[in-house]
Amino acid sequence: MSQDFQAITTRREEAQGFFERLVSRGLGWARKYSLFTYPYATACCGMEYMSVSSARYDIARFGAEFPRFSPRQADLLMVIGTINQKQAPILKRVYEQMAEPKWVVAFGVCASSGGFYDNYAVLQGIDRIIPVDVYIPGCPPRPEQVLDALILLQEKIGAQSHKLIDHRPPEPELVRPAGRDLVSGGVK
């Protein structure tokens, strides 16, 4: 499984030296086994999340024990349950408030694609507003399926390239400063 991820990154500009690869693997190891989840629970899947985090199907043995109900402190956003049109801006705002590195899991079929609620009120999948890493189908999914998805996510995190200092361009601003001309692209 992890060979598939490695095969993608052999291009010249992404080729990593030995120490860089070591650091990346180390950071990946640390990040994947200490996920702080933000359980953005709305609906019936919340019941299965409560089961997953309880004593029988223990999510703590995978490192993802503590839910952090503040987006600033969390790195895994689990969108649990149906997101409707009223909730969508709030979800997007919570996602934007989270700090890098962050991952998103769409828990349940309503979060993945809208489920069988194809009507005026429901957002047809959260990937229309935020990028998703792992989709968990099921209505609601069994806890074993959730743990399988978590392991899949952990493999994905382990195989990503992590850097100590990340020179990626910053995310676009949320608020436009006053005095900018919006039509001409920002320069007066």
Binding site: M47, S54, R56, N84, K86, Q87, I90, F116, V122, R142
Partner: protein
């Protein structure tokens, strides 16, 4: 630069510390994604210090268009939508909806189906009460009752999964009965499970009921008088906590509730502790009802044989023309319920769950209205906590047991 305050008075004659200064209330927003809000509710609270002056619950963050979806599918296809209304006790919703359809169509279901429906509803009532009391314990600071409650709920869900195929959203009933009969050996397994659930319930009881911290948080908080509770339209444990003895299972018995003996706990003070304790006692009664049903049940059919409402058995579908046509009509056009309207009600764990159905004779519903007990409970929240402190909101909101799926449909 200080603003001009016309109403600033400093009474020089009295203590200078008591100078009256103008104050403004602070508005805070307990947002839709909050650990202490069961599901997603936004509270716009105005506070004077720590005292709640005004509380405005804003709901709608889980509105999934239940009624509109039901109007566009057939009667049988509405069943999964009803599961997801009160998703903690889905069997109660399923069976309530089907009871309403059967009342409208004038169908009488077989005896065994009535017993199975009672057993299923009581098992999910146990799940709901366990979730409510466990979450109440957790939000007041104790994580251990939550874990005991969740484990007890898992044991019950194992049995429900053996019976219906799913843990949470079951879609088990059918018009005219239930989908399949009880599995082999299930009755004995359930009896053993109920013994273990009772042990877990006693653990939660010992941790919370006489706990000084729990009592201090829940005694005399969120009080509502019996008259106000009736005026707001409360039903269920919230109404019984205020002293009004109304339980649909006793007042208008349905299925087999007139053949089993059980008590209905009634509270005296109308506060959160009474609501919690009523739920604990109702769990004991539910276990007793299930055991009595097992003793009284007789073997028999679990669904009626009328092919206008029930799918014909598969060997008939594949070999006889009547079976094929019956199956085709039921799937493509839906069950043809006669024209009319009906209001039917059952006792769900939160209160009286009412269904108002209007049928126009075709296979699709014309109107499906679910009278969710939670709506009036949340609308009465402001009346219950006005004047108390902000932390009193938490146990009150937990005791209401608002399930987003039914309040926002």
């Amino acid at each position: 630069m200080p603003e001009k305050h016309d109403s600033t008075e400093s009474r020089v004659t009295e203590n200078a510390l008591e100078a009256r200064l103008p104050t403004k209330t602070m508005s805070i927003n307990m947002g839709p994604s909050h650990p202490a809000s069961h599901g997603t509710v936004r509270f716009n609270i105005e506070l004077d210090g720590e005292t709640i002056v005004k509380l405005d619950p804003e709901i709608g963050f889980l509105h999934r268009g239940f009624e509109k979806s039901c109007e566009n599918v057939t009667w049988q296809q509405c069943l999964p939508y009803t599961d997801r209304l009160n998703y903690v006790s889905a069997l109660c919703n399923n069976f309530g909806f089907l009871t309403a359809i059967e009342k409208l169509a004038g169908i009488e279901i077989p005896e065994r189906a009535k017993y199975i429906r009672t057993i299923g509803a009581e098992m999910h009532r146990l799940c709901d009460h366990l979730t409510c009391t466990a979450a109440m314990g957790m939000e007041l600071g104790g994580f251990a009752p939550f874990l005991y409650g969740m484990e007890a709920r898992e044991l019950l869900w194992d049995r429900i999964a053996e019976l219906t195929g799913a843990r949470v959203t079951t879609s088990y009933g059918r018009i005219g009965g239930v989908e399949k009969d009880l599995p082999e050996g299930w009755v004995q397994k359930v009896k053993d499970t109920l013994v273990k659930v009772e042990e877990f319930r006693q653990e939660i009881d010992q941790l919370l009921t006489l706990n000084r911290l729990f009592i201090d948080r829940t005694r005399d908080t969120g009080v509502i008088s019996a008259e106000d509770a009736v005026d707001f339209g409360f039903t269920g444990p919230m109404l019984r906590a205020s002293g009004v003895p109304y339980d649909v299972r006793k007042a208008h018995p349905y299925w087999v509730y007139d053949r089993v003996e059980f008590k209905v706990p009634i509270g005296t003070r109308g506060d959160n502790f009474d609501r919690y304790y009523i739920r604990m006692q109702e769990m004991v009664e539910s276990i007793s009802i299930i055991n009595q049903c097992f003793e009284q049940m007789e073997p028999g059919p679990h669904i009626i044989e009328d092919w206008r409402y029930v799918m014909p058995p598969k060997p008939q579908v594949y070999s006889t023309i009547e079976g094929v046509i019956g199956h085709f009509k039921l799937v493509m056009e839906g069950v043809k319920i006669p024209k009319g309207e009906v209001y039917s009600y059952t006792e769900s764990p939160n209160g009286e769950l009412g269904w108002y159905l209007v049928s126009d004779g075709s296979g699709r519903p014309y109107k499906v209205h679910c009278r969710a007990p939670g709506i009036q409970l949340v609308s009465g929240l402001e009346h219950m906590v006005k004047g108390s402190m902000l932390p009193d909101l938490i146990p009150t909101f937990d005791a209401i047991n608002m399930i987003g799926g039914e309040v926002e449909q």
